[in-house]
């Protein structure tokens, strides 16, 4: 497809020029799709949301001497660190599904998404256990407020994405899918990678934050 700029006054073309695009594919399951770009932009929005929360964490940390506040027990590090394993592994499921979506491999998509879902649920269970172990709530003090906000917003996003993945599993399993839904599977993986990637700094802040930048009473 040659559309390079012609110099003005180029007289090679005299009749109205016609660009026939009937040969181009009618769908493209790749990062060239507008939907993929849209998903990336969604991730940017959520990314800036979480970055602001991280900035808030450190701002609040720097304005007091004792951190975490008296009475708050330092969080357990083992469980959340262990929980990273299924979380990161679940990306493999996403990757499998998104590659299978390109090839229109129904079985691959189902296996990938199922793997993603199962590992993500393991992660969520571990998170719930750890979360329940925290000895403070958002009402305790500002440390509780910021930690709970981060945990809540990330969990909320994870659950929302998992519900969409579940819907896609249902569609693919029941055979009600076409290019559009395959594109959906592909794009769904982008959001999942993002949610996993953004958790790493959030994890560091929430669990290591009070250990590393904390100061005892």
């Amino acid at each position: 497809m040659v559309l390079a700029a012609r110099t003005p006054g180029d007289e090679a073309v005299t009749t109205p020029r016609v660009l026939d695009v009937s040969g181009l594919p009618a769908y493209d399951i790749s990062s060239r799709s507008p939907l993929w770009l849209g998903q990336l932009l969604m991730c940017l929005i959520e990314g800036s949301l979480f970055l602001i929360l991280i900035a808030m964490y450190f701002y609040l940390r720097l304005s007091v001497d004792v951190w975490p506040p008296p009475g708050v027990q330092l969080p357990n590090l083992i469980l959340p660190t262990l929980a990273l394993i299924p979380l990161i592994a679940s990306c493999a499921g996403s990757y499998l599904a998104s590659e299978a979506a390109k090839m229109n491999d129904r079985r691959g998509m189902l296996v990938g998404m199922a793997l993603n879902l199962v590992l993500a649920i393991v992660f969520l269970v571990l998170r719930t256990v750890e979360w329940y172990g925290l000895n403070f709530t958002w009402k305790a003090d500002v440390h509780g407020s910021i930690v709970w906000s981060i945990l809540f917003l990330h969990t909320y996003d994870v659950v929302a994405d998992l519900i969409m993945t579940t819907v896609l599993v249902v569609l693919v399993a029941s055979g009600r899918y076409g290019e559009k839904q395959r594109l959906g599977v592909h794009v769904d993986s982008v959001l999942w990678y993002f949610l996993v990637a953004i958790w790493l700094p959030l994890y560091a802040v929430v669990y290591w934050g009070s250990h590393v930048v904390g100061a005892p009473q």
């Binding site: 009475g71 709530t137 958002w138």
Partner: protein, 187 residues
Amino acid sequence: MYLRCLRNLHSYRLLSAGLCLLAFSACQREKRELRPSPTRLVVFSDAARQSDIQPGGRQSQPVVANPSHGSAYEISEGARLYDWYNCSGCHAGGGGGMGPPLIKTDWIYGGEPANIFDTIVKGRPNGMPAWGNRIPEYQVWQLVSYVRSLNNLEPTSATPARTDTIQQDTAGLRPRPTGVASSGVTK
């Protein structure tokens, strides 16, 4: 195009019905009479004497409507007065101290608005002074509403979730499920 569609929707009717509903729910909560009416400026100069004839025990009271009930502004004024008239000196933030607690408690003298009103105006034995000879009726009702709001007896939509103070209770901190005693978690 807009108007045509609104007509299709019958949304005028819908909208006005919705607005009426909203207005109904909002009117009490958002009521804010900055200037108390003259009838509510009474001070009860003989309050202290009256309290003597009702020592102890729960009194049955005629149902008196609390004019401040459900008004967010009046509850917040009550909170301010609670602090300013030094109720907190004895009752702390509601948890009690020198005086009995006001939160989640069995009311010694009854928890109806009229009971609390009486308690404030006439005082009670063992230390509760009679305030009726000093503060006007409208402020007593504001205090009544605030005290009741501490026990969720006022609509939650009219009550703030917290104040700009140190948390009085340890509601925000809970024991670990492993059974670590909550007494180890003090603020």
